[in-house]
Symmetry: C2
Subunit: 251 residues, 2 copies
């Protein structure tokens, strides 16, 4: 934990946050904080800051917080992901949040098995702590916006333009195609939406449907990777490609 992420509700009228549970344990046992010490804090969807430890007890740590840090930019990458196996989804939440995405759009697809939608790893209460874990690891404060869509076609044709009105749209595909960096290079978009399919890939209808809504095929490299590995690899390549475009295009 490289930052303690707080919501406005965690703060009392004196800007003191009372941290409990796993985060209090981590502060006490790993970071070994004592009164007077300062730790990095951050406000969800807000700026980072500093928290001074004002009290510690067996089960809570109180931090007087000020949020004078510079608000980071919301990650410029969004992810459209066919719902993976529950075990893979569980592993993905914290990693996706750590590597940085603005929005996570989970969708059905022909090769998504129906029971995958029954997992509690799609419940907000279950995945939110994992997102927070990832943000705290990466010192980010932007909580990814998450939505779950059971009808692929309705999502792509009717809803996607509202969720992601602007930006480059890429769909990762094993077929020969430009690399992710090649697809991003020289483009003036300020956001990229990356679609990653199910194990077994998108089917032809889905690829056509995505292409009709502006998605461009980009190569994920010569190796077929498991969804979690593919997501981390593709998001890393995408962030790196956006980072190293000409300076005039940065946001």
């Amino acid at each position: 934990m490289n930052l303690v992420l707080l919501s406005r509700g965690d703060l009392d009228s004196d800007a003191v946050a009372h941290v409990e549970g796993e985060r209090a344990r981590h502060l006490r046992e790993v970071l070994k904080v004592t009164p007077g010490q300062s730790v990095r804090v951050g406000l969800i969807d807000g700026p980072p800051g500093v928290g001074i430890v004002v009290a510690t007890s067996a089960d809570r740590i109180s931090l007087r917080c000020s949020f004078a840090g510079e608000l980071l930019a919301r990650p410029a990458v969004d992810l459209l992901l066919a719902v993976p196996r529950p075990k893979v989804l569980r592993r993905l939440w914290a990693q996706i949040a750590a590597i940085g995405v603005g929005r996570i759009i989970l969708t059905n697809a022909a090769r998504v098995e129906r029971p995958y939608f029954d997992t509690h790893w799609l419940d907000h209460a279950t995945y939110e702590p994992l997102l927070i874990e990832g943000l705290q690891q990466a010192r980010d404060t932007w909580m990814p916006m998450v939505s779950v869509h059971r009808q692929f076609r309705i999502l792509i044709e009717d809803e996607l333009d509202k969720l992601c009105p602007t930006g480059l749209r890429l769909v990762g595909h094993p077929a020969a195609a430009p690399s992710i960096a090649g697809a991003v290079a020289g483009l003036e978009h300020d956001r990229v939406l990356l679609a990653i399919g199910p194990e077994g890939g998108w089917n032809d209808f889905e690829i056509a449907c995505l292409a009709a809504r502006g998605f461009v095929v980009a190569s994920m490299g010569p190796r077929t990777l498991r969804t979690d590995t593919a997501c981390v690899a593709a998001l890393a390549l995408l962030h790196d490609a956006l980072e190293h475009r000409p300076a005039a295009l940065h946001h």
Copy 2:
């Protein structure tokens, strides 16, 4: 499983392999193979090929194999990794193998906790199935060479030149530095050895020791990532950077 990986010992004198256990279950229940059908196979550290199903039973599938495929190049990237927490190490084996490394050198470091060396995830018998799982996912046949080193300084000063005699050496560091792609661009090395430190980073002695043996600092990007996420992200960037160097330098 996108390829059934076999060792020479799996093949009888008629080049028939009798596959049992989890792989037989996967062939029967997921791929639903029947006699006469062909599946992708590969020989560990050898070429890929085709296996014709010649018999199926409740617990074994027999495949008559021919290995006429083109031998892929051994991955051009090696990984020097400070032993991570057992839970993270367990998750890493298959992902590292899938993304492709020639060699995995696991090392102690000041910020590696001693109990990390007691885990069975460092035992060959425990991690080998995970490496095979990753190779089968990515359709690779090159088994990463693995070694575990309890003394950092002896490894770096006395052993590393034998393990990795040639190639560029990079150490991922949060400090300002060229990016991984920047460090690789234009260099004529045919291999890259990437060092990834423990949670909390290498200490000053370790960085100096690595620098003295030719390691160049490369930026892992602005975010502090968990070791497993950092490994996948850095290896993806490195493979991509090597892949997109001028054609004359490819091997």
